[in-house]
């Protein structure tokens, strides 16, 4: 009896607590998103039609940009995992001053605004920049700057993405019990075996979360592709902005946004499922 009453009383309080953020999301995110989707399906007063999407898929420039964005995003997200996993493993299994230093360096990009990184990278890896000067000094010529190429964008996005990916992997690795690793070592398992047999399966969730979050962040990226990338193909963020403000074609810009949203939604589902799985496990 008492239990029931407490629950009944707690219920509205909990709802009230989440009501404000939910309302905010509904009014400022969901409603405009739905309105945008509806308007792409009703390009004029005549009624429902897929003409905006037909135009998008009939246009080689648009589909090319979408494909390019997808490839760039997959490459960037994979590069982030490959780069951050060794760092995370090192930080997890060593102690002392050096790892602390490494960690603070790795998290540093979190505190630097993207536009500044963009310009710094132009000076660093751009033509006649630091890299080229150093290479030239030690006798290596023929360096071709990645500035204004797709590789330039990927480098910039990886630089920006390191802190988040690293922190997620670290939190996953923190849950790997030392005992399990020691036990494996006692029966003679080598480093690689421990990694593939014990650590990776245990942090599978963190890997998924890290991958999907960086995917979502990179897919709609604007600053890095704008500053470092090529004029063509463009990533969707830059393309949408140009369609909207330079070509003054809000309908196509919205259609492009909905296409981005669809791709991100798929990854979003993967993310939500993996979060739900880990919550179930810990519950």
């Amino acid at each position: 009896m008492t239990v029931e009453r407490t629950e009944a009383r707690r219920f509205p309080v909990g709802l009230l607590l989440v009501a404000a953020p939910v309302l905010l999301v509904a009014v400022f995110v969901l409603l405009p998103a739905i309105a945008a989707i509806v308007s792409t399906l009703r390009p004029d007063a005549a009624g429902w039609s897929f003409s905006a999407y037909a135009r998008f898929f009939g246009d080689r420039l648009s589909t090319g940009n979408l494909l390019f964005t997808l490839v760039s995003t997959l490459v960037t997200s994979s590069a982030l995992l490959l780069l951050c996993l060794p760092i995370a493993l090192y930080l997890r299994f060593s102690s002392g001053r050096l790892p602390t230093f490494v960690q603070s360096v790795a998290v540093f990009p979190l505190f630097v605004p993207g536009i500044i990184v963009g310009y710094a990278l132009i000076r660093f890896m751009g033509p006649n920049g630091t890299i080229q000067t150093v290479l030239h000094a030690i006798g290596i010529n023929g360096f071709r700057s990645p500035y204004l190429t797709p590789v330039g964008t990927v480098i910039g996005l990886v630089w920006e993405g390191i802190p988040l990916t690293l922190l997620i992997l670290l939190s996953g690795l923190a849950q790997v019990p030392d005992a399990a690793i020691e036990a494996a070592r006692d029966v003679g398992a080598g480093g690689l075996r421990i990694l593939t047999g014990i650590i990776l399966p245990l942090i599978r969730n963190s890997l998924t979360v890290a991958f999907s979050l960086s995917f979502l962040g990179v897919f709609g990226a604007f600053t890095m592709p704008y500053l470092l990338g090529p004029a063509s193909p463009e990533m969707m963020g830059v393309f949408m902005q140009r369609t909207f403000s330079e070509l003054q074609d809000p309908l196509q810009a919205q259609t492009q946004a909905v296409m981005c949203f669809l791709f991100c939604a798929v990854v979003g589902v993967i993310y939500v499922r993996s979060v739900a799985r880990s919550r179930r496990k810990s519950a």
């Binding site: 033509p127 190429t149 704008y226 090529p230 004029a231």
Partner: protein, 381 residues
Amino acid sequence: MINRRQFLATSAALAAATALPVSRAFAATKLDIFTDSDANISDWLSNIVKPAFEAAHPEYEVNVVIARNGGLDQVAQRALAALNAKADPQIDFAEQYDPNLPKGGIEAGLWVRFDDKLVPNFAHVNKAAIQSPYSMPYRGSQVLLAYDSAKVPADSVPKTWDALVAWIKANPGQFIYNRPDKGGSGKNFVVRAIHEANDRDPALFTASNFTKEEGDKRLTPAWALLNDLAPSLYEKGSYAAGNTAALQMLSNGVVSMVPIWSDMVLQGLDQGVVPETIKLVQLQDLALAGGFSASVVPTIAAHKDGALAFADFLLTEPMQTSVLNDLGGFPGVDWSVLPTALREKYAAVIPASIPTYPEGDWSTALNDGWYRNVAPNITRG
């Protein structure tokens, strides 16, 4: 020991005393000068023009009003409403505004029609800069070619489009222009190609004559010209992401020549950001495009005489010299009325003409067409 009341009284008296010299012996008429231009312009108005004008005309006091982000549109609307209601528009002068706005304003007699009787110095205004008699051009900016004189010998500096094309092809990788939507430097280079493909006649493009067919007919040959250049550009067809990015590549010695806004490079040279070896040249067969900022005065301005005196003052030699030296802009008056020394200093950039290209549909078609037809044409190995 001084008590609080004494302290307050003394400081109030002191404050009043220091304020005294500022207020004039007679009450000066306050002119409301509006601007929606960037901070460099409003600073220039407040710090250079205002003191100079007030010294020359002690009967007036200049009040610089900054109305950025569309504020001036609303002020102009209000002025039109005031015209109909026979009220004070509360604006005497707009530093830069399109007299074709608001719609119907000119027909209703909203803006002063300039001539040299109202504004004596108007006679000196560069004829090429006058787009409408209802506005007074007083400063301009134009895209020109900036090159590194350490790498480009004086006798090989191109002075015509054909010579430029030949130079770019003879020096592969040494030229870059920025994407047309990311800055006027690159856009006006593309405009120059469009003019080249259309008998070098900027008059073919007006704000109202765009149609899809006309656009295809006029722009397609320009894409061919630009695609022909692409393999000889920096990295065989890379395009900088903005005016500054292109200028930086020139300053760093990555490329030897770029198209760039005159005011950007002149200011950069002045501040030492751009190395002194960078020199400027304008094409003489048809110049790269540019534009002028022109001022308007409402016919019903409460202090119209003061506003016209201010307009006249902007066109005087000291102010026009200041446009060049302090703003890095182009004078609105004819170069011939400026001091010889100044004219010689900028001899290479004085254009034979100042072509323009309309905003709106033509610009949209330029942006879209360039991204579809020129940008993808990369032969990167």
